[in-house]
């Protein structure tokens, strides 16, 4: 246990002053010093004498030592490490944030690209669907056309031309009748256009009775009509849109006798 008596007896104050004590001993001496003002005064006297003795024994160093010291301090001044550290951190932060910004911009760009690609893919899908439908339509058309062509070209098919009367002097319909296949196909290319409230309708004359062969479709040039057995003539009238049960004779456009 270090106390005042021990300190004085063992000359610990002198050793404390000279920095000879271990950190632990130093701490204990300081504790006693804080509590004992006499001892504190003793130490202060020792310290004052110590300083006087040192000043009495001073040796003045050459002037250049001070000049060099001040130079060293001045040259050390700008090299304060925290500033470099700061700079380092700033550069580091700048680099990191740049990379982050690049990544973010890149991600947004990629995301947009992805969306665009998705949209384009959707468009391509839709177009593919449309093309598929077109092809199917074309196929159906081809089938019909092939069948018409077959019928028209058949040696059994007979061709009748219906020329328009005074109601429609320019009208000209070509009809192909195949009695073997029981089919009738007409070409309406030179039939004048009608308004939307009226349609052309075709009739077959069987023993003085007019049998409906069907309404002529305005869209198609080449179309198949209903075949009627034992027809004596083919007739075309103008009827209200959608067709009529009986032909309006006053509006008969053209007729041709089948022989």
């Amino acid at each position: 246990m270090i106390d005042k008596v021990y300190i004085l007896k063992n000359g610990l104050l002198e050793q404390y002053l000279l920095g000879e004590l271990s950190p632990n001993e130093e701490l204990q001496v300081e504790l006693v010093l804080n509590m004992d003002s006499d001892l504190k005064i003793e130490l202060e006297t020792l310290e004052a004498n110590f300083e006087k003795m040192a000043l009495e024994n001073a040796i003045i160093p050459p002037k250049k030592a001070k000049v060099e010291l001040i130079q060293k301090i001045k040259s050390n001044q700008p090299k304060i490490i925290p500033i470099q550290k700061n700079n380092f951190y700033k550069t580091y932060l700048f680099a990191v944030s740049s990379i982050a910004a690049c990544l973010l911009i890149g991600s947004i760009f990629m995301f947009n690209q992805l969306n665009n690609s998705k949209k384009q893919l959707q468009v391509a899908e839709d177009q593919k669907e449309l093309l598929k439908r077109d092809i199917e339509g074309l196929k159906t058309n081809l089938e019909y056309t092939s069948r018409y062509f077959e019928i028209i070209n058949s040696p059994e098919t007979k061709q009748y031309i219906l020329t328009g009367n005074t109601l429609a002097p320019t009208a000209k319909i070509v009809s192909y009748v195949n009695h073997k296949n029981k089919s009738v196909i007409i070409n309406t290319k030179q039939l004048p256009k009608l308004d939307k409230d009226h349609d052309y309708q075709m009739w077959a004359d069987v023993n003085g009775e007019m049998i409906n062969m069907g309404v002529i479709d305005k869209e198609n040039q080449l179309l198949a009509m209903q075949y009627v057995d034992a027809a004596e003539s083919l007739n075309i009238t103008i009827e209200p849109a959608g067709g009529n049960d009986h032909p309006t004779v006053s509006r008969l456009l053209t007729n041709v006798y089948l022989n």
Binding site: N10, G11, E14, Q15, L17, L18, G19, E20, E30, T45, L46, E47, A48, N49, F50, E51, K52, M53, A54, L55, E56, N57, A58, I59, I60, P61, P62, A65, K66, E68, L69, I70, K72, I73, K74, N76
Partner: protein, 185 residues
């Protein structure tokens, strides 16, 4: 010194003028210690600069409650010089043994300016020697009593008696100074 307090506050605020003033006040005393310890002017000057650089850089560590500025500076200087001496001794011993004998010779030939001055000279020789070993050679009490070939207890009482006598002579000096000042008036 009272204005040391102000100077030290300024030093802690990195005021170069404060360092310059403290250097002017204390460099002689510190250089006296360093030079007596290492006995080489060039090394002593480097160590002195080094000491003041540390004082400049570590000024915030100085606590005026614990002691005077000189005591703090003295400890820094002593530690630096002892470290330096240990290192150079290691170098000499490991690198070239022949230099060792030269060093011994150097120790014997002490320049005149290294002799102790002031009130110390009024002390008995063995008291002077004791003070010199611990204050100006940087030896610890334990090393110094071996050097003087006396028991540790005896050595400690040498130091105590020496300091007491010094104290008396400083008091006398103050009295003489006061009388002197009185006479001038």
């Amino acid at each position: 010194m009272q204005n040391d307090k102000v100077l030290l506050l300024q030093l802690q605020n990195k005021d170069e003028a404060a360092l310059s003033a403290l250097y002017d006040n204390y460099s002689g005393a510190i250089y006296g210690v360093i030079l007596r310890m290492c006995k080489d002017e060039q090394h002593a000057q480097n160590l002195l600069q080094d000491t003041f650089l540390t004082i400049w850089e570590k000024a915030y560590q100085y606590n005026p409650e614990k002691g005077k500025f000189y005591t703090w500076a003295y400890r820094i200087a002593k530690n630096k010089t002892l470290n330096f001496l240990r290192q150079s001794q290691n170098l000499i011993q490991t690198e070239d043994l022949s230099v060792y004998t030269n060093k011994q010779e150097n120790l014997i030939v002490e320049p005149e300016f290294l002799k102790l001055n002031g009130c110390l000279k009024q002390l008995d020789l063995h008291h002077q020697k004791a003070i010199e070993l611990v204050y100006f050679q940087g030896l610890t009490h334990k090393e110094a009593h071996l050097e003087m070939e006396v028991p540790l207890g005896t050595f400690k009482s040498y130091i105590k008696q020496a300091l007491k006598k010094l104290q008396l002579s400083y008091e006398k000096a103050v009295v003489w100074l006061l009388i002197f000042i009185d006479l001038i008036r």
